[in-house]
């Protein structure tokens, strides 16, 4: 099987999501840099790959894909012979739970955590601006409510979708990794099962490798 090309940046959360999948399945790939600092993601060449002008995009021969969670599923399905099964598509009940917690990441976790990361990390570091504390504070309150649900879940289940590591857990990595380099990392201290889960998933070799390419490593 020939390799794939991933267009993006190793520091970008959504690129990292796909990088993790590629590493987990041991795929051959090339990371082609697209610089968001210069606005390259809005260039005609990149818009042809991702009409929303975002990173990442994936090229596999003639196939071009965008949306990191969809790309992730494609990678995991394409390389399922590798033996790494993070989707559990052979089991209806298990695959349903993977989809549930992947959606929870998209619709509950991500909207709460990403403004905290954006304000406290991206705004000062990339934009040279001042974090909006009101946004951080209100997002933190929402995030804690989400973490309460995760704490209850992870008290009953080793991983989010069940007793198996899956794409649902993996998908939470990039933004959480960035929260951990902000002062708001301490929020996890109040949620011991979430903290233990985080320590477990970040001990995976794929996570260590992708983490090394991100800011604050």
């Amino acid at each position: 099987m020939s390799g794939v090309k991933l267009y993006g940046s190793p520091m970008s959360t959504c690129t990292a999501r796909v990088l993790l999948c590629l590493e987990e399945v041991g795929a051959e790939y090339e990371l082609v840099p697209v610089s968001t600092l210069t606005g390259e993601q809005k260039s005609p060449a990149h818009l042809a790959r991702n009409p929303f002008g975002q990173i990442p995009a994936l090229e596999d021969g003639d196939l071009v894909l965008f949306e990191s969670r969809a790309i992730s599923k494609y990678v995991l399905r394409k390389y399922k012979e590798s033996g790494t099964d993070l989707l559990k598509e052979g089991n209806l009940a298990e695959s349903a739970m993977v989809e549930v917690w992947l959606e929870a990441e998209s619709q509950q976790y991500n909207p709460a955590i990403s403004p905290i990361v954006y304000q406290s990390l991206v705004v000062p570091k990339m934009g040279g601006g001042t974090p909006d504390q009101a946004i951080i504070d209100s997002s933190l309150e929402k995030f804690k409510k989400v973490l309460e649900v995760y704490e209850a879940r992870l008290s009953k289940s080793k991983y989010l979708a069940g007793d198996f590591f899956s794409l649902a857990d993996l998908s939470h990595f990039p933004y959480t990794r960035y929260l951990m380099v902000t002062p708001y990392a301490s929020v996890f201290e109040s949620y011991p099962h979430v903290k233990a889960w985080w320590e477990d998933i970040t001990s995976r070799p794929a996570f260590k490798k992708v983490s090394a390419g991100m800011l604050g490593s």
């Binding site: 009409p51 196939l63 894909l65 394409k78 695959s95 349903a96 989809e99 929870a104």
Partner: protein
């Protein structure tokens, strides 16, 4: 005999997304109301079904599922022989078709949903529940949504439906918010030629019409 139960009201966009899928798939179901005014969605019994205390929740003989897009995928996977056979993309095992559906369903969830949900709240739910509308939020979200619809318009100039030649979950996912927005500001969709064409086609589907009938019926 329905072994499928959906918890929630058809007036909730997320619930109506699931109902649309059930009608497309010809899967019988029972709708169990959740009295949110009385806080039933935060009751311990309901939190066992949906730990975030939101609707919908879905239960059948195999499992309990929440998050409307996950429920829709589960319905397609668990009832593969029933009703619409192309909601998840082409034939069984067609990875490219399935991936295209995933991609455009993600676009809906990540790009269309946030501004459209904010607008639905401002234009429909805020007045309904006596909240004051926020003109700045309306303007900001209309602008964001306009950018998304511009991308859709180009895509739908090349492709009959978002994921390809067939109506799929990727299109279906847009029906709930689209329906409310078009009723409040038809121009958003209809001023764009390809989006307008697509909207008229998907909103005319019998399955969606059944959902709208449920929404318009007196809510018990």
């Amino acid at each position: 005999m329905a072994s499928v139960t959906v918890y929630g009201t058809p007036l909730s966009p997320a619930v109506s997304r699931v109902l649309a899928c059930l009608f497309e798939k010809d899967v019988d179901f029972k709708l169990a109301p959740v009295d949110m005014a009385k806080g039933q969605h935060k009751s311990p019994d309901f939190l066992k079904l949906q730990p975030f205390g939101q609707v919908p929740a879905f239960q059948d003989e195999l499992t309990t599922v929440f998050e409307s897009r996950a429920i829709c995928k589960y319905i397609c996977n668990n009832y593969p022989e029933k009703g619409n056979q192309t909601l998840m993309g082409g034939r069984d095992g067609d990875l490219l078709a399935q991936t295209s559906v995933d991609q455009w369903l993600e676009a809906e969830g990540q790009s269309f949903n946030p501004p459209s949900s904010a607008l639905v709240f401002q234009l429909a739910f805020a007045p309904m529940f006596g909240f004051k509308q926020d003109p700045a939020a309306i303007e900001q979200n209309e602008a964001k949504l306009a950018n998304v619809l511009d991308v859709y318009d180009r895509r739908l100039g090349e492709s009959k439906f978002l994921a390809g030649d067939d109506f799929t979950l990727a299109d279906l996912a847009h029906l709930p918010n689209g329906h409310i927005l078009v009723s409040k500001n038809e121009d958003l969709f209809m001023s764009r030629k390809n989006v307008g064409r697509w909207w008229e086609e998907i909103s005319a589907r019998p399955a969606w019409k059944k959902v709208v009938e449920m929404q318009n019926a007196p809510q018990g």
